[in-house]
Assembly symmetry: C3
Homo-oligomer: 354 residues x 3
Amino acid sequence: METRLGELVERFGGQLQGDPDIAIAAIAPLERAGPADISFLGHSRLRAKAARSRAAALILAPQDDAEVAASYAGARIVTANPYAYFARTAQFLLGASKPAPGIHPSAAVHPGARVDPSVHIGPQVTIEEGALIQAGAVIDAGCFVGREAVVGKDTHFFANVSFHARCTIGARGIVHSGAVIGGDGFGFAEDKGVYIKIPQIGRVVIGDDVDIGANTTVDRGALDDTVIEDGVKLDNQIQIGHNCHIGAHTAMAGCVGVAGSAIIGRHCTFGGAAMVNGHIEIADHVHITAGTLVANSIAEPGRYTGFYPIATNAEWERSAALVRNLGAMRLKIRALEKALKALESGSAAQPQAG
Amino acid sequence: METRLGELVERFGGQLQGDPDIAIAAIAPLERAGPADISFLGHSRLRAKAARSRAAALILAPQDDAEVAASYAGARIVTANPYAYFARTAQFLLGASKPAPGIHPSAAVHPGARVDPSVHIGPQVTIEEGALIQAGAVIDAGCFVGREAVVGKDTHFFANVSFHARCTIGARGIVHSGAVIGGDGFGFAEDKGVYIKIPQIGRVVIGDDVDIGANTTVDRGALDDTVIEDGVKLDNQIQIGHNCHIGAHTAMAGCVGVAGSAIIGRHCTFGGAAMVNGHIEIADHVHITAGTLVANSIAEPGRYTGFYPIATNAEWERSAALVRNLGAMRLKIRALEKALKALESGSAAQPQAG
Amino acid sequence: METRLGELVERFGGQLQGDPDIAIAAIAPLERAGPADISFLGHSRLRAKAARSRAAALILAPQDDAEVAASYAGARIVTANPYAYFARTAQFLLGASKPAPGIHPSAAVHPGARVDPSVHIGPQVTIEEGALIQAGAVIDAGCFVGREAVVGKDTHFFANVSFHARCTIGARGIVHSGAVIGGDGFGFAEDKGVYIKIPQIGRVVIGDDVDIGANTTVDRGALDDTVIEDGVKLDNQIQIGHNCHIGAHTAMAGCVGVAGSAIIGRHCTFGGAAMVNGHIEIADHVHITAGTLVANSIAEPGRYTGFYPIATNAEWERSAALVRNLGAMRLKIRALEKALKALESGSAAQPQAG
């Protein structure tokens, strides 16, 4: 859809420098934006590029405005958080693309499921008995929604999502293709070397405004529920074990794994492929670097890291061999300390003996 | 379904302290269990919680019985392995929930497939020519079973499993949503910088009582088969390369990766995100800690570990810089040893010279 | 299909030692090959096994020919790269197994999609409006192809692939089951602790001869495209973030993760579970070892490694504790150096003082 700069400022605030009637049809990056596009300046280091942009309008921060305005002739929206402003603008411009309500004739919707008339259900979908799909939800092709599962208002399942029995997700969620919500947790009792499955009868309970990435898996709880609070953002190929609890507005990058019964705080971030052991607790505002294994609970906010530094293979072979032999190195240091002390007493004694 | 304590003890053994006619309808955790529930005491540290439980009955170990019985008024089943007993009880109580036999009208079952009349096939399923689905199997919505594949008795595929041509799985298996069994192995011949695909014509051959997690992938063999023996338990998002052989009753936690042609023994365990290099051999009863890369064969049973210890980011930056410079540190120690030796000879010589 | 040795040599070159009319029906490994099979010798260390093979013919390198020929009585094709020759032979022998053209009646193909008459579309497939499926493509059961997506000539999607709107893949590609191409990139603006989604409107643009493994995910670009050049081979469960650029003929093993906006050169290789940080650049001909995190750009070709060496758990506990205390170790070495220097001056001074 098309909008005017005036409408954007009415909706999202910011200070407009320019004509409110300028029409905006699309978003574009600084270097590709043309006379119907709006773009944004995310970092001050891009000022020169912004100044040369042919965008109809730029969203930028107060500290960048003067320098950009000196050579850029288009309109500007000045705001404290240009990236967030751009995000809202982009959502607004692109928001009208929702598919029409209705159920595709190839979908298998159980007569005992409750589907709001405003819902879109694509081809090859399966909705089981007792499931509830609330107003404005979009269930794309090939998705599976199990018995008595609940999909909240305006939540969007992309193609081929599996959302299992009795699990629930709140409003405005996004679940990407191939995600599996509510598979059984990995729970077994060992008896003489053989594993006996513990039935997994808890649910996955997901709050509002949660995004779940492609091929991410969230297991149902064993007896209690797995819980994902409001505003959590999970990237692709993340694994969340049974009975985990992820606090609100925590974000995890791709390939993160969280073992069962981990309790993670609010406003945490996890870099790609970070791993969290089971049955540990992580406080609010903890930030884990990519590739780091969190083996124990973390009680203090802050940034934590633990990965082996990359090097040329030859250098790594040397350093890895030395890491294995750190014990020997320590013994040598102790021996040196002892020998030195002996020598010092000897030396110190000498003058008196002399 | 509902049962009586007497029936549980008849089926699973254990010593009953209490009335065999007490009715049990469900399992529940210690703190939530009520007068129709059975619960269990998994660790002695939970004795106090067990003593306060309002469960109709508790499953517990002999060493915990006296203390719990002192204040807990319900019935007790005393057994050496309460967790395994609980698992069997839970399976028994929940076991009757199998869907009715029959093929959903939206399923595409090739006329040349052989499907036992007791099998349940859900909506949107595809079964290709020559596939064999044995008695009591359940194939949920959206699954794909390829040509001449074999699904054993009472095996359950959750929604959206891909089980490719000629692969086989035995009895009582569980394959969770999004798992892909029998995709091509990653085999290429390089010729002047360009990769030429090696056709992958082996199968995946899976034993009885194997569980495979959501979005886990097991590749077919190149010429020979990939083999997963009886009782293996694979969690979610595990990758098993072509021509691997996983020994019976080995268990792997989420996100583990096993490269091609690795041979893994029986009764091994792998923590989350452990990685195994290709063409290596791991003995029986080897236990790999989470986040550990197994670069070479392991011949001795035991626990093996290798991950960089987590620290605050500032501490990690210091330690990682030192890890890179361990060579320099070793040189300094050597120089110290040499200098000290020189000094010792000097010092030792002095008194005689004095 | 069956062929003759003469036809293989005509097609793929090599020097034939033996009767060109010998019939070949299949490929097989050295030890299982029989009188209708062709096999190959990939490494000189397998010479003895090759010499005992009962294959009708062997493909082998000049340096192995004399020794093998001494005891092996079958025909030989001598070529500089036996593995590549074997790959081409295997493809040729197995190549005729393409399914018949046509659209399965259960598929939901939008009337506004353009599907070449030579295309095979399996059961339960969804093809959306404006999609273009070119000649000879095979779309297996349960796949989803979004609006205006393009699938190139002779490209094969295995069951349950999700290929999203406007993404394109070239000719002769293979996409394995569960792969998700064109899911949204993980882009959010943070505003007062809450994440605001950045709409992801770029595409995924994939070249010719690209293979994508099972459950691998490639995100669409934010504003620009994610690009995968010709001949790239991605194994299973790989995650490629938005706006990445993967150079031609680069290969990645299973479980690799590449964060957003990483630029990776041509002819690179990545071992399993290697991870690449976002916004970095990796030169051509860089080889990353399994389990290694690439935290910064790499400008020089070569092999790079960084993983913690595995050890028995007890040894690891000692070495990991010492890694954490490397700072203390360094201080001790400094103190030793200082004390030694003091001692040396003292010792040196003594004789003069004596």
